[in-house]
């Protein structure tokens, strides 16, 4: 064994994660790259509530009830907490396959496809699985080199496969997936309540004050009211509508992605195999289900060849994996089909994607239009020898 050096600065796994996420607080916080709209969301919420606390609350606390500002504070704290929780957590990113796993899958695909005749394109990489007596197709992800689990989808903005992918929300600056969907829903729900609350009490406040001082004087005394009413009015329509839409999705146990693609609609299509056909059960599963762990291990320490493996709480197996160099005698004679969907290719779609407005679903622009043609020559070339 050569002499080992212990480097002072540990490299954590988040620093080497592929994908287009940004990490903060040494890997504790995980977000998408474009955070501008998220800051806007935060500013709007904090700003509007500050105006409410400054202008309306003193008056209402005295003239109506002190419970009004108290409840507003609680609601505000809940909204911000849910927003931060949605934005900062791992939505359920699936790590990319390590080379051995990718090779293993390639070999399985080759075995399933048999010999591809020259000039023919290979069949699309799809696996059929039976879920609750329905046939569901699992697609192969060329970027992550895995067959996506059911309900997973690849987000082109974050360049990750996300489990139970709902959509990429620029307002929260993150994908919404299995792990943070309930926080996202509670955020929209509580924000709806907060917006309605502030809007209602603004009206009450203006009415009460106008009785005493007149309408124009009221607006002069509390200029913040106008701004608040404007923000609340526009927010109401969008957020309440969004909450209603997600309530509908939850009751059917569907994701936005499935709804947009029409996966379970239509007579000839498969019926949703994940729905319990019971509104209550579906809601309970989505909102009160178990809290799934992150499989990314962002704060795990990278075990590099030059450092002594630091003991982590993983099992002994992980220390073995680390000390075995990757260049092992894995019996793979099947050539690996190169990944034609490189991150550079994805850039134009990201540029176009961020211009889109509120919470429109984003997923990997499927490489299928071009990939079979790109793949076929590569496969033929490789199998020729």
């Amino acid at each position: 064994m050569s002499a080992v050096m212990i480097t002072r600065k540990v490299t954590r796994k988040w620093e080497k994660l592929p994908g287009k996420n940004t990490f903060c607080c040494d890997g504790r916080v995980m977000m998408a790259r474009q955070k501008g709209v998220f800051y806007l969301t935060l500013f709007l919420i904090v700003g509007t509530c500050s105006l409410f606390f400054a202008f309306e609350c003193p008056y209402l606390a005295v003239h109506l009830s002190p419970a009004i500002p108290v409840f507003a504070v609680l609601l505000f704290v809940f909204v911000v907490a849910m927003l931060l929780r949605t934005s900062f957590s791992d939505p359920g990113v699936l790590p990319r396959a390590l080379p051995e796993e990718a090779n293993f899958i390639e070999m399985e695909i080759e075995a399933a496809n048999g010999n591809v005749m020259a000039g023919q394109r290979p069949p699309p990489r799809i696996k059929n699985v039976q879920i609750n007596n329905q046939i569901v197709k699992l697609k192969y992800c060329y970027t992550c080199k895995i067959f996506r689990p059911p309900r997973a989808s690849h987000c082109s903005i974050c360049d990750n496969c996300v489990d139970r992918f709902d959509h990429h929300c620029p307002w929260v600056g993150n994908c919404v997936g299995k792990r943070n969907y309930r926080y996202f829903y509670l955020f929209t729900l509580s924000l709806s309540l907060l917006t309605i609350y502030i809007f209602a009490f603004n009206i009450v406040h203006v009415v009460l004050r106008s009785v005493d001082s007149g309408f124009m004087n009221t607006l002069k005394e509390t200029p913040g009211t106008v701004l608040e009413v404007l923000v609340c009015f526009f927010t109401l329509w969008s957020v309440v509508g969004l909450t209603g839409f997600h309530t509908y999705l939850i009751s059917l146990n569907q994701t936005t992605n499935e709804d947009i693609k029409g996966s379970w609609s239509g007579k000839n299509r498969v019926q949703n195999p994940y729905s319990h056909k019971n509104f209550i059960k579906n809601c309970c599963e989505v909102l009160c289900g178990p809290t799934y762990p992150s499989v990314l291990d962002r704060r795990g320490v990278m075990l590099e060849d030059s450092t002594r493996p630091t003991p982590s709480d993983a099992s002994a197996a992980s220390t073995y994996k680390s000390t075995n160099p990757v260049s092992q005698t894995t019996k793979s004679s099947a050539p690996l089909i190169p990944n034609e969907h490189t991150p550079e290719e994805a850039k134009p779609s990201i540029g176009a994607g961020t211009q889109k407005s509120t919470s429109s679903p984003k997923e990997e622009k499927p490489p299928s239009p071009t990939s079979p043609n790109a793949v076929a020559p590569a496969v033929i070339k490789e199998s020729a020898h």
Binding site: A81, T291, A317
Partner: protein, 159 residues
Amino acid sequence: MYLVSAFHNLQELRHSASLANKVFIQRDYTDGTVCKFQTKFPSELDSRIERTLFEDTVKTLNNYYAEAEKIGGQSYLEGCLACLTVYLIFLCIETRYEKVLKKISRYIQEQNEKVYAPRGLLITDPIERGMRVIEISVYEDRGSSGSSSGSSTTSSSGR
């Protein structure tokens, strides 16, 4: 009877064996998106371990994951309590899933020590592979003598 020699100790396994192959046990989606692995016995392990031992390991793991993901009284309680405390309670207590994951980790380590390492195999915890696969590394004895690898396979094919 299996030859239990240099593979007894996991440390010795690392020093004396080289990685020959990796077998990946895939997920079983027939019951939906719950975490469950296929119990189909891979042909690459045919000569290395008994079918029943392998199936027992996978079934036990599946039971653990089912326990972690069970939607019932306890998960509702945990969910509601967490929501009321704005999820700050998770700074203090562990979620049920995390508790079960620790149990799984201990179980895998125990299985590696008792069952798999003596047969030159090593199971990797699925959580380290994104809960997608159970990776089983197949080691072959580098062999202090030239015939030792041959002898280990012949002795293991005895049963």
